[in-house]
Symmetry: C2
Subunit: 504 residues, 2 copies
């Protein structure tokens, strides 16, 4: 066992937050970089968390009337060009397919069979889906059209970082078509509310919801609603977005319908997405200096049972007892699904095994040895407590209390994240000097955070100040605080409260 002052992860969050992040991903065996530049490999523990996210979100997507479908990986170059802002936004990060076979030449394989028109590996699918929707939609009776896709997308990243920023990532993208702006904007909010539930109730990650300013909008969108979470270094992570696309993409893709009034008109569309980036957010929101902490509702496994076998003669009886206990635990349910129990029978030193699970962030560890069996008890460790804090429980107490213990851990993580988000959000900064001092001086890993302050709404007048500080307007929060008085940046009369932060 490590000593009290030692941590399982080196460096600590305070010492070097970015490196701490990489070390947590490694220690929890969640993902790794691949030999393909910028593309990650998601290992079983990381992928298991993604599967939990998928299941929770997919249930909500279906319950709100959306159907899943699947569209092509490739987009013809000419499609991308149809929406001007859109192609500007993605042209610099596209993987381009130019050939459809390989051919030997001078003993080497080279690309061959050049395509007449290059294909882009989808960075997002508005343009290809729009093309198909233009055929599916004829009349107002076909609307709303509510479609979702689970897929991989590629955006060539120059500075990749596992989960947070990778050339290939996994996501879902909702694409919907509506008769008018009102119906489309309602849909934007349906998506935002699903995302809020996923982030807050499942990932225990509190978010601030608001509108993006023009420069931060999705390329081609009329408005972008974002959900912003605070990481433990005080930076913001854009955790998900939902876009009202107006008639921009409907015009680009010619999505028209015959209205109930007999008029042929362009539809209003939306799109919305969250990705494997959420896993990076979860790590940075909850991880500590001993590694990952997975909220129980996002955990691939809730409980690991660790048989303690001091001598070979104990093996059979301890394993039998543990398997029986696992069977009974699996009959319990937590948050509407069966409790997931893993029995770790590997032939490894107990301390090492236990620490592996601490680093993976499994919510509950339960040790059972011969003496526990004699006492009809077990030793329980909660990941929301110190690695050595233990609870001796009677076997029956364990079975009775497990669902509440898991919910307790879930609640603790949310409360802790909410507390640091609130503690590190300043609403009292009123001058440019204070604003600059706050972002320039604060040591980012422990002191800086969010600033909520009145803003004049003039992006061109404020972009230089913000760029110097490497700060962005994360959103104009839906729940407005103080928007009166003067703009914190320009001193001009303010029109709205903005949320400022450094961001991932």
């Amino acid at each position: 066992m490590s000593k009290k002052e030692r941590t399982a992860i080196t460096p600590t969050r305070e010492q070097d937050y970015p490196e701490w992040y990489q070390q947590v991903v490694k220690a929890a065996d969640m993902a790794e970089n691949s030999p393909v530049r910028g593309c990650m490999v998601i290992k079983p523990w990381g992928y298991g968390i993604w599967e939990r996210i998928q299941r929770e979100l997919d249930d909500r997507i279906k319950a709100t009337g959306h159907d899943n479908a699947y569209f092509p990986l490739f987009i013809p170059l000419s499609f991308l060009e149809k929406e001007a802002a859109h192609v500007d936004g993605f042209a610099k990060e596209c993987a381009v397919v130019t050939h459809h076979r390989l051919q030997e030449k001078d003993g080497k394989l080279i690309p061959s069979g050049e395509l007449e028109e290059p294909l882009i590996v989808r960075p997002t699918s508005e343009t290809i889906i729009g093309e198909l929707f233009s055929k599916w939609v004829q009349s107002y009776r076909d609307l709303p059209l509510l479609i979702n896709q689970w897929a991989n997308v590629v955006r060539w990243e120059m500075r990749p970082r596992v989960f947070l920023r990778t050339a290939e990532f996994l996501w879902q993208e909702g694409h919907t078509v509506h008769v008018d702006e009102e119906d489309a904007r309602k849909e934007v909010d349906v998506a935002v509310e699903m995302y809020r539930q996923l982030m807050e109730d499942i990932l225990a990650m509190p978010v601030i919801i608001g509108e993006k300013t023009e420069s931060e909008r999705f390329p081609g969108a009329v408005s972008t609603t974002t959900l912003e979470a605070m990481m433990q270094d005080g930076k913001a992570l854009q955790a998900g977005t939902s876009h009202y696309l107006g008639q921009n993409f409907a015009e680009a893709s010619n999505i028209k319908f015959l209205g109930s009034d007999g008029e042929l008109q362009h539809a209003h569309t939306t799109s919305w997405g969250v990705s494997t980036r959420l896993i990076g957010g979860m790590i940075m929101c909850h991880g500590d200096d001993d590694g990952l902490r997975v909220p129980p509702r996002a955990a691939p496994k809730h409980i690991v049972l660790l048989p303690v076998i001091p001598k070979a003669e104990h093996e059979e009886s301890v394993l039998a007892y543990v398997e029986q206990l696992a069977t009974e635990l699996r009959k319990l349910s937590f948050a509407g699904s069966p409790v997931v129990v893993h029995v770790d029978k590997r032939d490894l030193r107990g301390g090492e095994k236990s620490w592996q699970w601490v680093k993976k962030g499994i919510p509950v560890r339960v040790e059972v040895g011969p003496r526990d069996i004699e006492n009809d008890s077990v030793m329980l460790f909660r990941r929301d407590e110190g690695p050595k804090d233990r609870h001796q429980l009677k076997r029956d107490e364990l079975l009775e209390q497990i669902p509440q213990i898991l919910q307790g851990i879930q609640d603790t993580y949310f409360a802790q994240a909410k507390a640091y988000q609130e503690a590190r959000t300043r609403s009292d900064i009123s001058s440019l000097e204070e604003f600059k001092a706050y972002f320039a001086d604060a040591k980012s890993s422990t002191e800086s955070g969010f600033v909520r302050a009145p803003w004049c709404g003039d992006e061109s007048a404020t972009e230089a100040i913000l760029a110097d500080l490497k700060v962005t307007i994360r959103c104009l929060p839906r729940e407005q605080g103080n928007a009166s008085g003067n703009c914190v940046l320009t001193g001009k009369p303010a029109t709205v409260e903005a949320l400022f932060a450094k961001a991932y």
Copy 2:
């Protein structure tokens, strides 16, 4: 309503089987071709079937100890080259990424940022996964390593056909590493048994399991076990394969481990996959001249409730009654999961609505109108019967009988498919003349089928005969029938019974 002699699909299977297939896909609104050559769009009804396949197979994959993970979409060209037979097998059908951005030139966007090494969009992932496994595997304690991936893959197809043969398709690929041949071959069989259950128990599609001959093996495999299904035109569909790769890929990717004997050695690997092709198989196995027939265990929805509203004044009471009935039906379970019920409230002519569901192949349709409500009864239609065969059931009888009705339809589809598979398999052909006559003369959509016959095992001596007839050896069935006597093709002494057929 259509007249008795008319069918919902034109042409019928007998008139033009390939065109019938396309029309069923269209009539059931399952998928369509996209503007990207060879890439299909899977629409909600088709994708819903894929989701059922995924859920059923994924549960089995996990229950047999495999973990899901995710590997890069792109494979460096040099990786593909590591296994000679493998690259030969895939070089002619690779999508090649050569650039990573777009740039404007003379007012046009062109590929820019040429990659130092081209990337292949994965046609299958042995080489990239092998590279990673070589780092994950160090000792015999790390084995077996049992990994599965759900992903999209691309194989450039010159003659694409929706579901059956598309440039991009969805699949799962299992990749496992073992200490020795025995353990690896056991794994091959574990996968085959999962596939058999999926195909026979879920898709109601009987299969013949056997070994591929050398020329039909996966490029780079030591042996390939296949599951072959018969379509209603008598042709074979390779529905899934499981490969023992020997040490070929372990050598190519340098997957070595320190054995319990202290020796460093190459591991033995397997891979196995099924794809969206299964949906094409399901269509061709069960569809009839009125459209698709989905086996209940593979159906996204089991029952559609069709409110019959003769006059506007009935609307409220009928809809309330139907919603209440839906709620009660949803509490029932079929094959371990809740019964999935859809209430179709669309404002459409009853006949048209009903026929849409016939063509989609939903297992059960239930009509409820004012008179039914008065009688406390409903009108039930089963897709395994004629479109006009109806059953008047009391409401309670419906609730009581639905699980058995669904199982009955499931069993009927399997029994029908098994019956035509058996009826159209000839085991009595003993001369080359008969063999030629059978495959050359039979009208493929109604008469031809499988031939099981003794074979000499000499591929080079028989390939020309088979190529002329466009027949292949589908497999050497695991359950051998008559392998004695002389080879049906060469007259030489036979060594094995082979299964011959035309194939997709």
